[in-house]
């Protein structure tokens, strides 16, 4: 090949490798990438969430022409729940000026935390990720409402204590099993468990499940049979949840005493058959499609063939509504950002302020067509989580039914630990930048 040919080839390669000019860079749109996983071992959990997120934002475009008259550019990036692919997604969306990212994986969230402040892209890790990132003074660019994994664990403990007929003192002498995905997500509450088991006097039995053994848990459940925990707590994801329910049934573990964090779906419980009745999970929002806003999703998105849901009855299921909730936070943050910044086409910096000033009360839920869908959300400059209440829902063989009042987390126990953990994180990652972003009056 001559020098001239080499020059042509180089020029052609350069042109081809230039990123396409994204629509988001246009003046009249807001770029919202969604990190999703519709493929791979965790697709069972990832697909309904992706559908809910995508459909809500699409509905806003179709019904309202976007937010505040500005169209949203929605783009999914498939991570396969793989941290490496998630980081590739982040790098690919970064030049398009996203107003925020939603990693949908604790493993992907953790490496994005230090990048967020540098790239000025807020990270919304809704009820997952690093629990300590709730501390807005140390993590001004990371948000994890409405509750952390640590809050969730204490809420389950409080429910267990209530089942035993009293307060947390009833946990003393109890044996509580914790079966979890042996990854960043499942290991997140381990420091809390270690601390609380000493303080409250319960014995914690740990049953880690490697991702490779999600569908091969018989060893863990043999250990459960030997140890006979009084209660079992599950922090699973993907195929781990459905297999855990089946194994619990197989082991004859009393399902009424098997309680999960907020991730299992209807299909996860259904796979256990009739004997899975009684399985419980935390939740903070309604299930079902009986809300005007979800009717609009049906009308403007699903009925028009603009959704990827495999069947219409998936709309309103627990993880679909979880995706809807996530996109509601995205949309409300953008709306608030438009208000506080005065810009129609907001930037990541504006949306960070929008998240800090987020205030979704009952009146706003009603206005959106989501009356009684979930509890109020109010974030502040210092508190990026809110540590809101959740409730227990019980699988009745056909659907999840709410069976408890709202349960507050053990803030008195979690707060000092979160504070210490946030400081430890900053020290470990020194020099961790001091917060320079001013707080709005509203927050």
């Amino acid at each position: 090949m001559s020098l001239k040919h080499w020059a042509y080839a180089l020029a052609a390669a350069t042109v081809l490798s230039l990123p396409a000019i994204p629509a988001a860079q246009a003046e009249d749109s807001i770029y919202v990438p969604l990190f999703t996983y519709r493929t791979g071992p965790f697709a069972g959990s990832g697909t309904p969430i992706a559908d809910g997120m995508h459909d809500y934002l699409t509905m806003l475009n179709e019904r309202d022409g976007g937010i505040g008259g500005v169209k949203l550019v929605i783009e999914e990036c498939e991570t396969g729940y793989d941290t490496k692919k998630g980081l590739e997604c982040y790098e690919s969306v970064k030049p398009k000026h996203p107003v925020m990212v939603n990693p949908w994986s604790t493993g992907i969230t953790l490496p994005l935390i230090p990048k967020a402040a540098v790239d000025k892209i807020p990270v919304l890790s809704m009820a997952y990720g690093l629990s300590a990132s709730a501390k807005g003074d140390i993590f001004p660019w990371v948000f994890n409402p409405p509750a952390t994994y640590w809050d969730g664990f204490t809420q389950i403990l409080k429910y267990i204590a209530a089942q035993e007929g009293g307060g947390v003192e009833k946990l003393k002498g109890k044996k509580i099993g914790y079966i979890f995905l042996d990854a960043s997500f499942g290991r997140e509450p381990l420091p809390l468990i270690e601390s609380l088991s000493k303080e409250l006097g319960f014995e914690a039995k740990l049953y880690p499940v490697a991702a490779a053994d999600m569908q091969n848990q018989s060893s863990q459940w043999l250990n459960v049979r030997r140890d006979r925990p009084d209660y079992m707590i599950l922090y699973g994801w993907g195929a781990l949840n459905s297999t855990a329910v089946k194994e619990a049934v197989k082991t004859n573990y009393p399902m009424e005493k098997f309680i999960s964090i907020w991730w299992p779906s209807e299909d996860d419980a259904r796979g256990g058959g009739d004997k899975a009745t009684g399985f419980k999970t935390l939740n903070w929002h309604a299930v079902g499609a009986n809300f005007p806003l979800i009717a609009d999703i049906q009308k403007y998105v699903v009925d028009k063939g603009k959704s990827q849901v495999s069947s219409k009855d998936k709309v309103g299921q627990v993880l679909y509504n979880r995706g809807v909730y996530n996109s509601m936070l995205i949309a409300e943050a953008i709306r608030t950002a438009q208000k506080v910044s005065g810009h129609k086409v907001v930037t990541g910096e504006d949306v960070r302020r929008g998240l800090e000033d987020l205030n979704i009360d009952a009146a706003r839920y009603k206005e959106m067509g989501l009356e009684n869908f979930a509890g109020p959300v109010k974030l502040t400059c210092a508190d990026h989580n809110g540590h809101f209440s959740t409730f227990i829902q019980r699988w009745d063989g056909k659907q999840y039914v709410k069976v408890s009042d709202y349960i507050t987390p053990m803030t008195d126990k979690v707060e000092p630990l979160l504070e210490a953990d946030a400081k430890a994180y900053a020290e470990k990652n020194a020099p961790w930048p001091k917060r320079t972003e001013p707080c709005d009056k509203a927050s």
């Binding site: 071992p41 990832g46 697909t47 490779a212 569908q215 018989s218 060893s219 297999t243 259904r270």
Partner: protein, 326 residues
């Protein structure tokens, strides 16, 4: 001292004190081992006949299971459900595995014949990702419930009071063990007693010698890949009935690697014995020794067991002895 007691004494005390749990652990290990053996068998069949290490065997388990359940769902959506629909879907899934074998032979193996083994190995990587993408495109990424009842596979368990406690035998596990054993026996008879079986063994011994006596390599490859596909389908049904049919099963299939290291890449009995040793070994290890290190040792213990065997028999338990002239 306490640590030594925990490692060398306490587990055995537990085995004596709670023999029912020991029996349960052995049973769980046996069932896992049989299923690992089935997956490993798929690898061995192809390796013996074509010298290809088929990395796609794991995804073939998922793809065949998804094809079965996906076809049934499509029938059910059209109003055709029940056992007849399930067995029609099963027959079609077998047919799909035959077509897959023919396509792979025609588009992958034949053009790459006489290429170095590593090229063929990499080609099976390509087949893996193609099947993942194709499976997700046609059937979606959602986990699917195996059509257990429609295929007349049993549910429930026999709880047997024994050894001072009880041992639970899941009916689906018993069925999996019986079906896998019958399948292995059937394959053994096929290899030993039939004309095609003998031709397969001839190809395994020497491609050139087999060609010289008129055996069609292409035909043999199709048969072998089809047999591996059927084995994958049976594994997909059995494992899918125990949990779900999802792409996570592909990871479970990786457990066949230590089985192959242990049993040898060319030995059917090796795959069976290797599967049982790995299955029972990892369950015993996780149950009795896992708690010492916080659990979760099962995922790597299988490889440790295999490596320990390798130190003494690099060719595996039943693999052909490596003799090289220097």
């Amino acid at each position: 001292m306490t640590l030594l007691y925990s490692i060398f004494v306490d587990p055995f005390v537990q085995m004596v004190q709670m023999p029912d749990l020991l029996a349960q652990t052995l049973w769980e290990g046996l069932v896992s081992g049989v299923l690992y053996a089935l997956i490993a068998l798929g690898f061995v069949l192809i390796f013996k006949a074509s010298g290809v290490f088929n990395f796609a065997q794991g995804i073939m388990v998922v793809f065949s299971g998804l094809t079965l359940v996906g076809l049934y769902e499509k029938f059910a959506a059209a109003g055709f459900s029940g056992p007849l629909a399930a067995f029609t879907a099963l027959a079609l899934a077998v047919l799909v595995m035959l077509i897959l074998a023919m396509v792979i032979e025609r588009t992958v193996l034949r053009p790459l014949v006489n290429q170095p083994d590593i090229i063929l190995f990499m080609a099976t990587f390509g087949v893996t990702y193609l099947l993942i993408g194709f499976g997700e495109m046609v059937f979606g990424g959602d986990p699917k419930q195996m059509i257990t009842d429609q295929l007349f596979l049993p549910r429930g368990a026999y709880d047997v009071a024994m050894l001072g406690g009880h041992v639970s035998f899941q009916k689906i596990d018993i069925a999996a063990t019986v079906i896998a054993s019958l399948m292995i026996a059937g394959l053994a008879i096929f290899f030993q007693k039939t004309r095609i079986g003998r031709a397969l063994r001839a190809v395994a011994d020497s491609h050139k010698a087999a060609l010289s006596v008129g055996i069609s390599l292409n035909q043999i490859w199709v048969i072998v890949w089809f047999a591996a596909g059927v084995v994958a389908l049976v594994t997909g049904i059995m494992w899918g009935a125990r949990s779900d049919v999802s792409f996570a099963l592909q990871i479970v299939a990786l457990k066949a690697f230590p089985v192959l290291i242990l049993g040898g890449f060319t030995s059917v009995p090796g795959a069976i014995v290797g599967g049982l040793i790995i299955g029972i070994g990892e369950k015993l290890g996780e149950f009795y020794w896992g708690p010492l290190v916080g659990g979760g040792i099962e995922s790597w213990l299988a490889y440790v067991i295999a490596l320990l065997f390798l130190l003494y028999r690099p060719q595996g338990l039943f693999g052909d002895k490596i003799i090289e002239r220097i």
